[in-house]
């Protein structure tokens, strides 16, 4: 985990710079023809939604690695990714809600992607709670890793089912082809791409800080256990 200590200031600085540049572009970008100034919320909303999902992928890979190689580092990264992912999910839901009020006329709609995001948030919370409600940390780590994998298999089914159930949300616009009804063009695209990069760096930075904190806290627990053992 020494590498984390080395990269932390670098990643932190890089994310700060890219974030500043991206926000400058957002400030410069023209207001949307229909959405007005509120469109700027999407520059935060879309990257954090992507990070909310990316964190889960990271978490799954770390969990598989932990179960396979039994390396504690992978478990620490998985634990860190869970809280970071939960944070991005909250930002996604909150920014979407703030954008939805003027655009859709409602804070919340039980639409496919909103519902999936809410379920994802509960799943992140479940992962965080499960780990700490088992007394044996190794058992907790293994149970959490398995739950993460079960969740990774379940999330696409959840998404698929809610898409069938409800669809009000606009179709994805970044990856859509030329024949899509909604697309992002011209001066609106650069800030979105720059901010996406900034959010990736920011996510990495957050995972680094959180992982180092978890590592220190586990080390303290081990010292405390050793001291108690010594006193006996």
């Amino acid at each position: 985990m020494n590498i984390l200590k080395k990269i932390q200031p670098l990643v932190g600085l890089a994310s700060l710079i890219v974030l500043a540049v991206g926000l400058w572009y957002v400030y410069q970008a023209p207001a949307d023809f229909q959405q007005g100034g509120a469109v700027r919320i999407l520059y935060i909303h879309v990257p954090s939604a992507k990070m909310a999902l990316a964190s889960y992928i990271f978490l799954t890979v770390a969990s598989v690695l932990y179960l396979w190689k039994r390396h504690e580092g992978a478990d620490i990264l998985a634990e860190a990714a869970a809280s970071v992912g939960a944070a991005f999910t909250v930002v996604t839901l909150a920014s979407g809600s703030i954008w939805g009020k003027p655009m859709w006329g409602t804070w919340w709609a039980w639409d496919a992607r909103l519902t999936s995001m809410l379920v994802l948030l509960i799943l992140y919370k479940g992962l965080m709670v499960l780990r700490h409600s088992l007394d044996d940390p190794v058992k907790g780590a293994r149970a959490t890793a398995i739950l993460a994998i079960v969740g990774a298999v379940d999330l696409p089914i959840i998404h698929y089912s809610v898409v069938w159930w409800r669809t009000l949300h606009q179709p994805p616009s970044l990856a859509a082809g030329a024949n899509a009804d909604i697309h992002i063009s011209g001066p609106l695209l650069p800030p979105l791409l720059i901010l996406s990069a900034a959010f990736i760096l920011m996510g990495l930075y957050m995972v680094t800080v959180k992982a180092r904190q978890i590592e220190a806290s586990r080390h303290l627990d081990a010292l405390e256990a050793a001291r108690l053992h010594h006193d006996d």
Binding site: V119, L130, S133, Y160
Partner: protein
Amino acid sequence: MLKAIYRIAWKDVAGDLRRRATLSSMLFFAISVLVVFQAAFEPDRKEAVRLLPGLLWATSLFTTLVGLGRVFQAEEEDGAFEGLLLASVPRGVIFFGKWMGNLLLTLLVEFLILPLTMVLFNVDGWAQIPTILGILAMGTLGLTGLGTLLAAMTRGARSRETLLALLLLPLTAPLLISGVQAVAATLTQEGEIGPWLKLLVIFDVVYLAMTPWAFTWLVEE
């Protein structure tokens, strides 16, 4: 292998039928949930038809949670869980046994609740009962499979019942959605039932394939 699954499942079901511990508490819990729904919504006849699918599934889900809290109760004491793991069959088979035992008990309760719900809420769907029972069975297969895995995961956890609910409810969202839609389509004879049944089958197949492996990893020393 089938014999081992049967023996493990039957030890749980027979034990419970004799003590009537889980079965009766699940049944009365379900009835009290129905009373709560009636008091909360007071549906008239027309509303009751619309509400029944959701009512049925919500009641089944809560009832399943009660049952899941006790899946490993018999193995809680005297190292019985470790004893069970020592059985000379693959761990996945042991898991299937526990799963089937839980499935049987849950299905039994659900089959009792269905007519009861129709009587209590004045819904005339007697002709559809076989289809609805089939849908309930398909949903409950996946539900108890995932549930049994989560119950094994939370063995010995603090505030376990709350944790089980927190973990099970989001993961079973597809089941709940497709189950409710399928029952609604059957009851009102409107809308398509096919896609929802397909979704239930996908969920069941995924969990049939995945949970025994997950259990094997979970209990590995």
